[in-house]
């Protein structure tokens, strides 16, 4: 399975948490723990905080991106967004570098990562390097707790981005606690 997942990744496959381990970096978990696998983004941040991995980065958890997040990322040099993915093309997770793009498929309560980047550029005249860790989820009902498949994907994603970091060695199930 892991070989297949790595195939889905692009040039960012070498990226590790070391890249984000200073105060100019932000790790942003997007989601809702009350909607089953939508809690993947928060679970990733919880795992970082539990293990003290990437301790120097600022960490944020929120339900969805909004316009003021353009201001938030404008103060950073590197940002890692972690979100659940419904994309069936993603077997377990995908790590990629995001590109700024004004996405007009806007609804009043959520904005895309690409649009936040474009807004940051237009309003604040600068833009950080932004990466996305998209972790595949499966169930989205009003219920607390990740599905077993989502937990497995979270472990795979965590182990991958953790693997060459200088922080303590990964425990593949630490994020499930």
């Amino acid at each position: 399975m892991m070989r297949k997942e790595i195939k889905l990744m692009n040039a960012e496959s070498d990226l590790t948490l070391d890249h984000f381990n200073d105060d100019s970096a932000l790790i942003y978990g997007i989601g809702n723990i009350g909607r089953q696998d939508d809690g993947l983004g928060w679970a990733f941040v919880d795992w970082l905080e539990t293990t003290s991995a990437c301790a120097n980065a600022e960490k944020v958890k929120f339900y969805q991106l909004n316009l003021e997040d353009a201001d938030l990322i404008s103060h950073k040099q590197r940002v890692l967004f972690v979100d659940a993915s419904k994309d069936t093309a993603v077997d377990s997770f995908r790590l990629y570098k995001a590109e700024s793009k004004m996405d007009f498929s806007f609804t009043s309560h959520a904005m895309s990562i690409e649009t936040i980047m474009a807004t940051c550029q237009m309003c604040f005249g600068k833009i950080p390097d932004v990466y996305v860790l998209a972790i595949r989820g499966y169930e989205w009902e009003l219920q607390i707790g990740l599905t077993e498949q989502a937990k497995r994907n979270l472990n795979l994603a965590s182990a991958h981005i953790y693997r060459t970091a200088t922080a303590p060695s990964p425990k593949t199930d630490c994020c499930l606690q």
Partner: protein
């Protein structure tokens, strides 16, 4: 051949709604409805939970006006434990002022969201502008400096919510009988003076004034359209103090007619004695109305327009000046014009900022008397809370058994109160923009949405569910056969 237009769902509102418009063979509007097709569930699943969980759980109905739900629930809990307004054994001044501060902060950021995200794009870019342009992202491209200020308004409001309620969303500061924290002088000064991350309160006032000026400029250029769009008569209702001025946190429910004559004033604990709710098989959202007057004459409007119609004055100078201008323009009568709601909302952004400025300088916020601890004998087991949420009058009513578990919960939210007047607005706009037209354009369809959006309806609150919000427009003939379909 008659036909039916369907807008499903309406965009840039919270939740999932659908509009159907029935046209006859000459394209005259013969029927228009706003349908709410979400399922309601929160009132049921809260049953059996400990009473003190209600304000924490029920605020999760919404990601926008959660503070209102939290405070409304907290007021109901105050009643239940014997320290609420029904018992006249009140919470401490510090507790009430902390709640008010969070409430005003939420109104500031919620109104800023509705106004700048959902309404200003059409004001600045045009109702007929391409759909992919007439939204806040179109504004980002058109005026990034304006958006920077909008970002700061929202951010400032949310930071203040976090400072008061402990979290930016779904905080838990209000507890039965009071609150669990005050505001330190250091935190207070951050909001008064600003720092490297947030502007000062005076800058918030400046941005709020600029937001109001946007409406004045738009109104000046589009006076005929603004003053005729979506004219929908209704009674107006909001909470008022003893002077007849709006009080967003507590007061009597005052209902006035178009001449501002008071037709009913009541203690909100008696709400159910005065109101009934009609249902329709085509919508999950009910239609509240004053029993004595019946549904047609007794339906009320709530929210920004109702409040500026009802209130006699404001206690703060800038908002008072704006209110006087509004009242004079409408010649002392209530306005029924849908787009005047946006004017009212801009006034209330300013009013909220001024109220926050006054409260931030109140030394009671730094005092330690946070909680009134009731005795077991004071337990009543039933409570009603009402606040003026950004979208209008919000009511929570709970009962619990002697073990303290919820046995009954009823929520009457602003969007439900506005159900009848929103339907009237849809009908009015449909007649004006679609009636008799041979071809229905996307801009005409958007006019319907503009009318609904003026109410900033929260259909998730009204039915307590969540939904994705793509836009589907389906054109049906009189027999219900699909002729065309569009999706945004």
């Amino acid at each position: 051949m008659g036909r039916k237009l369907i807008i499903d769902p309406v965009t840039r509102i919270e939740g999932h709604g659908k509009v159907t418009i029935q046209l006859d063979d000459d394209n005259n509007v013969i029927d228009a409805k706003l349908l709410v097709v979400e399922f309601r569930g929160f009132e049921k699943f809260i049953q059996g939970h400990p009473y003190w969980e209600a304000p924490m759980l029920l605020q999760r109905i919404c990601g926008i006006c959660f503070v209102s739900h939290h405070l409304c629930g907290a007021k109901a809990l105050d009643d239940m434990v014997g320290v609420g307004y029904s018992t006249h054994n009140l919470i401490t001044p510090t507790a009430e002022k902390m709640r008010r501060l969070g409430h005003y902060a939420q109104q500031l950021q919620s109104h800023a969201t509705a106004y700048f995200y959902c309404i200003v794009p059409e004001m600045m870019l045009g109702m007929d502008a391409a759909p992919e342009k007439r939204n806040v992202l179109g504004l980002v491209a058109a005026d990034p400096e304006l958006i920077k200020r909008v970002v700061m308004l929202r951010k400032w409001g949310q930071e203040l919510i976090q400072a008061v309620l402990g979290k930016k969303m779904h905080g838990i500061s209000s507890i039965p009988g009071g609150v669990n924290n005050n505001l330190t002088a250091e935190v207070r000064d951050r909001f008064i003076k600003g720092d490297a991350t947030i502007p000062s309160i005076d800058q918030m006032l400046e941005y709020s004034m600029e937001g109001l000026q946007l409406f004045y400029d738009f109104h000046e250029k589009n006076r005929a359209m603004v003053d005729s769009f979506g004219d929908a008569p209704a009674l107006d209702m909001c909470l008022v103090d003893d002077n007849g001025d709006v009080d967003y946190y507590h007061g009597k429910m005052r209902i006035v007619d178009n001449d501002k004559k008071v037709v009913r004033e009541l203690d909100y604990h008696d709400y159910l004695d005065h109101f009934s709710e009609a249902t329709e098989e085509w919508s999950y959202m009910k239609f509240p109305f004053l029993k004595e007057l019946g549904r047609e004459k007794g339906s009320v409007r709530v929210g920004p327009l109702a409040r500026v119609n009802v209130t006699k004055s404001y206690s703060t100078p800038l908002a008072q000046a704006a209110l006087e201008k509004f009242h004079a323009y409408n010649k002392g009568k209530c306005s029924n014009k849908a787009l005047h709601t946006n004017w009212a909302r801009a006034i209330e952004i300013l009013h909220s900022a001024e109220l926050i400025k006054v409260l931030l300088r109140d030394p009671d916020l730094q005092k330690d008397q946070l909680l009134v601890t009731p005795t077991e004998a004071m337990w009543t087991g039933e409570g009603v809370g009402v606040v003026e949420a950004p979208r209008g009058t919000l009511l929570h009513h709970y009962r619990a058994n002697k073990e303290g578990n919820i046995t009954f919960a009823n929520l009457v939210v602003a969007t439900t109160q506005n159900n009848q007047v929103m339907n009237r607005t849809v009908r009015s706009v449909a007649e004006a923009y679609l009636g008799g037209q041979a071809e229905i354009t996307e801009g005409m369809m958007n006019a319907i949405e503009v009318g609904i959006r003026a109410f900033d309806p929260c259909l998730s609150c009204a039915t307590h569910a969540l939904g994705e919000m793509p836009l589907e427009v389906t054109l049906l003939d009189a027999k219900g056969n699909q002729i065309d379909e569009r999706r945004k």
